[in-house]
Symmetry: C2
Subunit: 674 residues, 2 copies
């Protein structure tokens, strides 16, 4: 029992031996241990033990035992003792109870030899980088700037991000530097050089936590710093050899899973002190069986040890945190394939301008890599914003690495990562979201609605620090929220703008141009993703079906606009409408009519925007001009990427072939108050 | 958008029609709707509409529209309007915006016909039995006496408690009286006799909630009160015919699942107003496509409706609540089988004395019943306290009926219901547990530990109102906590005592008797469950192995005693040690040495205790005598049931063949603060 009172059974005629854990209390029933005929008792004890006499369960102030004091024996009379210093030798303290008959005649004694031992399992419960000793907060966790509790990163083999989870964290041997991202846990012990015979110290985790946490310990301190796993899957228990004296044993802890619907994120690790069945009977008189002598060496067969002390520490596994596009980029990943050389070149220029590193991943390496095998999303990785997410989460030592199977099992595109975005930090009616809010694409209540699978949704909700907002993306063929909303950084007070795809803005622009006499301006010049029919502003504006479809699309986007305004606390002036057109496919789902500029890649002030191939008048695309007019006054730099269309057909999106690793939030996630 | 602002797109040259939901705001961009060349605008509107003019998104006090007032047209200029009374006719209100060129020349107009409609989905959010209109608390839930939120019972077909869940609540037709245990939900609508063409009202639940809730509605009010399911599994949407005028439609809601690890207990039901794509264009000038006339009847093909308003209500499904043995019994169930006639007779006497109804279930009925088929626990039901639990949960209209598959799938006995007990209401260090705390048997951290499966544990934790305490029961062969702890009611201030099995108390008693010269007193007289060797007090006390084993058992029980004292806030005087002996089987697990008296059946003050067949001296069993001496001063009446042993062999327990339905707690579970 941690911090509780431990029951010890004394017995007249016996002297037992017991460990006394420092800081703990031991309670021994005196009445129950008395021989028949006893009416009074006295207590003697060594200096290292504090003893209270309790009458009917309550300590009385005058009841401090001392030489010669005798107390009446009554039901409920008990001793409570504790030790505050560790023993230097086994059994170096003792408590003896003497029983007296009517008239004061001594009848018998009961006693206990005590060995004081200090044990504490410690973590950095105040998140200051130091593993303090026996923090009162080590077994609990609280959110917020005034909160407390140790944290744990979700990690996996760093060189092989695609290693299947079942291979993760098992039977691995690490060097000291491999442990840098792990949380430190210290087992502190204090006591004699050896424990009495049969006692054991055991680290343990529950079966529930076994797939969520791994604990590593140095294998042999004399032969290099090799660390092996001592707790984790298939390893619920680890006997720790008692080091003797005052010692600190370092353990390193990693998370193996992000929180999800079935996992709150909290894991507990315990240390227990196990006691063998008492085996010392060196006083005369009847023990339970009223015999003595030879039995003192009788070791019970097949009787398990029982725990006399357990200390627990709690960690919270770091949540999956997404970085909004408004954060500064660090690395830009692009997948190089044989047909996207031009695109790669364009991206290279963009990255150079934005001052972030370009990392080209060669398709054959990744697709052929053994770590990719069997992963149903291997193809999707390049098709959605998947890679971006994977790298985003590797946010330095404060954040974990994503490795969550269910996220990748879903095949419906509502589950793809393009369907999850994250807003910049916002404040909504007094409630702060310092890490922003996750935007989930979902269906709106209609009979034919698709919906992100519960698994992914619930996973996102379970992260807690970026409370999700559910949008309505099911009106899109691909169903991804990044087809109608993105965020760009600004240097003003608001710090960002939300960009929305807007058919209304496009029709307004086109009508303006028509009024200006440019109705014959032609779209899709040089665009390889569509057929060669000439499309003019006049043609677009006179297409009734297209108009109707875009009115519908606008209403769908407006529905989201209204949700976003409310849930992100935005005003109209925080929103910029980018001209966009959609058309409906045979299923009545929307696809972009021309390359969708809102699916841009945001590298700080530098924007890589899918070239819209809009109506060209006076040698200039009026869509590009309008987009520049909307964004450049905010200090943003627009770069229209030509090759997107051929790279991704008429649904072209710059993000599809790229992924950005961004500088993580400076804000500490555990300071959130979800 | 509930309570948010809805975006509406005006367009010069068009007059559209729109529904305006009472209490909601509609925002229309004036700048975006203006024709080229417009520099000012004016607004006219009917009386039923309130209109604000917003400049750069902010209403200015002087900007109240009126006849003749003109405002400059600027980016961000918008109208916000709302209606506070329902329309009596479609389109009986309108807002018209007139645009003016430099010099005041009128250019064009944009307008909207408005129909005011009131919609609210209502529940009893303040738990007073009345479904109030549009409670501000209807979409959220808060625990505690100051909390709020509607509640829902988990129900299943009442006549067939064993009906598999997949057959539950589906395609069922109910009469009005069948709905008594369901929660009422009211859809209130107010408006003209008909809605404009194409509008729909849809009730919906998310796919996530579909297996957790069922909603019923009257099928045809003119042909008897037959209620059919309108939402539930496979029915995520239900179109509600618009009743016209001011109307209230009653729905009835039942829970289908208890909260569990993957289900917080909260379910949401939505009503949405769906709008078809606007189709009225009756003003001159260009709409988006700059045409008019015939298109006003053009109905877009394959374009889904879009939602313009959603109202949501939230229910919490009642948790699984256990009734402690200290609550008064209502019905005592006993399973009659061919070999337990005597036992049934004894139980009958006990029930008569306790004044509770005896219900005999005939084995052949239950085992042969088609509702029992395929239930893996059908046998276990009679072997653990299973039946007791099933009936316990049928606690009147405030509580639900248990119907949870996973609980019954587990076969390990740590998962049986004997391994879950519940304490009486307790107060622990200032924290109140007004419904007591669930006691779960579990393993203690040791390599060979069994453990209640995570599913059951997590289910119990998910109920929240009886926060579980994990005990260590794995040292027992059967592993059930009811083998060492029970609770009896008392009429003093504490209101209960905790009874613990105690080998130490038994050895103390036996040694007393030996000292009194009764060492030859013989046990197991008349006991049919063991062999015929004569067992005396002397023999028991001289059995070294038995002594050792019971020391170990005592230590295991003491471990639990220490936890229980701490977690239930108990003092020593709240605990009574009942003499018990155990022996270890070949696996080192404990089984009772004589019938285990702590597994008694508690019917208020009347206790049905397994007859221990202890040492008989002076014609009296010293165990029975000691137990009476411990319990009768508390006002309890001990009845030792003889036939238990033959009924259940040497592990005999009275509870095994019986189950008690108890009077539910008067305390309302939603007043808990978990």
């Amino acid at each position: 029992m941690p911090r509780g009172e431990r029951t010890l059974r004394l017995q007249h005629g016996s002297r037992i031996e017991a460990l006394c854990v420092l800081g703990g209390h031991v309670r021994a029933d005196v009445f129950g241990a008395a021989p028949a005929g006893a009416v009074a008792f006295g207590v003697k004890h060594t200096e290292g033990v504090s003893v209270d006499v309790l009458f009917r369960g309550r300590a009385e102030p005058e009841a401090v035992p001392g030489a010669g004091t005798r107390w009446p024996l009554d039901e409920g009379t008990a001793l409570r003792f504790s030790m505050s210093r560790a023993s230097s030798e086994v059994n170096d303290n003792k408590v003896t109870v003497s029983f007296f008959a009517e008239g004061g005649k001594p009848i018998n004694q009961a006693g206990v030899f005590l060995t004081g031992v200090g044990i504490s399992l410690d973590v950095d419960a105040d998140q200051d980088g130091v593993v303090e000793k026996n923090s009162p907060n080590k077994a609990s966790w609280a959110w917020g700037p005034e909160g407390h509790g140790a944290i744990l990163l979700v990690s996996c083999d760093k060189e092989f991000p695609f290693i299947p989870p079942s291979d993760c964290g098992h039977e691995q041997v690490f060097n000291r530097e491999d442990l840098l991202d792990m949380a430190q846990m210290v087992l502190r012990t204090e006591g004699p050089q050896r424990l009495p015979r049969g006692y054991e110290i055991v680290l343990s985790i529950s079966a529930n936590d076994a797939d969520k946490v791994g604990v590593f310990h140095v294998q042999n301190p004399f032969f290099g710093q090799r660390y092996v796993q001592v707790l984790g899957r298939r390893k619920l228990f680890h006997a720790v050899p008692y080091p003797g004296g005052a010692a600190e044993l370092d353990f390193f802890v990693e998370g193996l899973r992000f929180p999800d619907e079935t996992f709150s994120g909290l894991v507990s690790i315990h240390v227990s002190l196990l006691e063998p069945l008492a085996e010392v009977w060196d006083l005369g008189g009847g023990c339970w069986g009223e015999r003595r002598g030879e039995r003192s060496r009788f070791l019970p067969q097949g009787i398990p040890h029982s725990p006399i002390f357990t200390d627990t520490v709690v960690f919270r596994v770091a949540p999956w945190i997404m970085t909004p596009s408004t954060l500064a980029p660090v690395n830009l990943f692009v997948c190089s394939m044989k047909d996207n050389y031009l695109f790669t070149k364009e991206i290279q220029t963009l990255a150079a301008k934005a001052g972030c590193k370009l990392k080209v991943c060669f398709g054959y390496i990744n697709r052929g890599d053994r770590w990719m095998q069997g992963w149903p999303w291997a193809g999707q990785a390049w098709d959605g914003a998947f890679w971006e997410r994977r790298f985003l989460f590797r946010q330095g030592p404060d954040f974990g690495y994503v490795h969550k199977e269910p996220l990748f099992e879903a095949t419906a595109s509502l589950d793809s990562f393009g369907n999850v975005e994250v807003s910049p930090p916002v404040s909504v009616a007094g409630k702060e979201y310092p890490l922003g809010r996750i935007l989930i694409g979902s269906s709106f209540p209609a009979p034919a609605g698709r919906r992100m699978t519960g698994l992914v949704r619930d996973f996102l909700y379970a992260q807690r620090v970026q409370a999700p907002v559910e949008l309505y993306s099911d009106w899109l063929a691909v169903g991804n929220v990044n087809e109608f909303v993105t965020f760009v950084p600004t240097s003003d007070k608001k710090r960002f703008r939300m960009l929305l795809a807007s058919p209304a803005a496009c029709y307004r622009l086109f009508r303006e141009k028509q009024k200006e006499g440019q109705g014959q301006a032609t779209m899709f010049k040089g665009y390889s993703g569509t057929d060669t029919k000439r499309v003019t502003i006049n043609k677009v504006l006179s297409n009734d079906v297209l108009t109707q479809q875009n009115q519908y699309v606008q209403r769908c986007i407006d529905w989201n606009r209204d949700i976003l305004k409310k849930e992100l606390g935005l005003l109209e002036e925080d929103i910029i409408d980018l001209p966009a057109l959609f058309k409906l496919d045979k299923q009545g789902k929307a696809v972009p009519y021309f390359p969708n500029t809102v699916t841009m890649i945001v590298l700080a002030k530098d924007l890589g925007i899918p070239k819209p191939f809009g109506p060209v008048a006076g040698g200039e695309c009026c869509l590009e001009r309008r987009i520049r007019a909307l964004l450049e006054p905010l200090g943003l730099c627009c770069r229209f990427l030509e090759d997107v269309a051929s790279y991704h057909g008429s649904l072209g999106e710059v993000r599809c072939g790229t992924n950005v690793q961004r500088r993580p939030f400076a804000f500490k996630w555990w300071h959130c108050t979800p």
